[in-house]
Amino acid sequence: MTVTLPYPAKLEDTERDLVRQVREGDSDAYRLLVESHQTRIHRLVARLLGVDHGAIDDVVQDVFVRAYFSLDKFRQDAQFGTWITRIAINRARDELKKQSGRVPFDEEFGEGALGKLQASIGIDTADEEQPEETHNLAGRLVTRAVAELPERFRITIMLKDIEGYSYQEVSEILKCSLGTVKSRHARGRAKLKQLLSPYLDQLVRR
């Protein structure tokens, strides 16, 4: 049975060597680390900030710059990927705090949230005639619904269900217990189900 994990075990040793080389002053080693993680970190930051956010590239770049200067603090018992994912999440959180006029993620959605959700993605029954367009709308609907979740649930759902990390990896990234991760995941899914329930039949049929 082949299991696809986001972080293959064979990379661990290579990355440990690369980290050691960077600490010894080898910048090419850091280049390899950046290039092997940039796509994943870019995707994660884009999902945390929203794909239309103008500062995604700057934030991702800053993540790698911060990581470079904090490499002395990196303990080799953790994976570099886990460590840099944590830096990216914290940096994205900081970026979100700077924003004004954005709906706070920690705010629980009220009764009108579904209407707002529908209006914000502009669902139109006429679009159902166009499969490609509707598929995009379905994707945007799920993306927006995830974005509506309170931050602690949203990040857990993103890491577990969208990025494909295991519970154990999520608990290491977020530095919280396995039980907390499982609880946040279940509660996040419950809220997501509640949010998507009016569209669930349409979405599942796609």
């Binding site: 049975m1 082949t2 299991v3 696809t4 994990l5 910048s27 280049r31 950046v34 290039e35 940039q38 796509t39 870019h42 995707r43 884009a46 999902r47 794909v51 995604i56 590239d57 991702v60 770049q61 800053d62 790698f64 710059v65 470079y68 200067f69 598929h135 995009n136 379905a138 994707g139 945007r140 609907l141 799920v142 993306t143 995830v146 269900d161 969208i162 494909g164 295991s166 519970y167 899914r189 998507l196 669930l200 979405l203 599942v204 796609r206």
Partner: protein
């Protein structure tokens, strides 16, 4: 495989499907609750699969390396400035130390003199105090004789 083991197996990776594990398939055939869990998981995976893949970001290395160099240069500039400042500050610090030391040495005898007078005062007061017990003893002895 029991229900708990099945749920753990299912939750471990989104890449897992029932076809990959005969044990999981067999369990689902005999357990309605886990069948439902597996079906729900399929729905979730489908929903999350609808989220569009974010396009690959630009190569960041050139930006990252420039930012690192700039920050290193800034750090270096700061340490240079501190070095220059400390070099100019060193003579001033020596002069300040000499002035402070001189003042301390000059003022030390005055402290001693003041201390001496205080000792003299203590001696006076303590001798006055010591007279009192003698007077009490004398008075007590005289009273005894009487």
């Amino acid at each position: 495989m029991n229900c708990e083991a099945f749920k753990d197996w299912l939750a471990e990776s989104r890449a897992r499907t029932l076809e990959q594990s005969p044990a999981a398939s067999a369990h689902v055939e005999s357990c309605g609750s886990c069948r439902q869990t597996a079906d729900e998981e399929q729905v979730w995976r489908h929903l999350f699969g609808l989220i569009p893949e974010h396009s690959r970001g630009p190569s960041l290395w050139s930006g990252v390396t420039l930012a690192i160099q700039e920050r290193q240069h800034r750090k270096l500039s700061l340490s240079d400035a501190l070095l220059l400042f400390s070099r100019r500050l060193a003579p001033a610090f020596v002069v300040l130390l000499m002035i402070t030391g001189g003042w301390f040495l000059w003022s030390s005898p005055r402290i001693e003199a003041e201390g001496g007078s205080m000792i003299a005062m203590l001696e006076t007061s303590s001798s006055g105090f010591m007279e009192e017990p003698d007077a009490i003893l004398v008075a007590w002895a005289e009273a005894g004789r009487q």
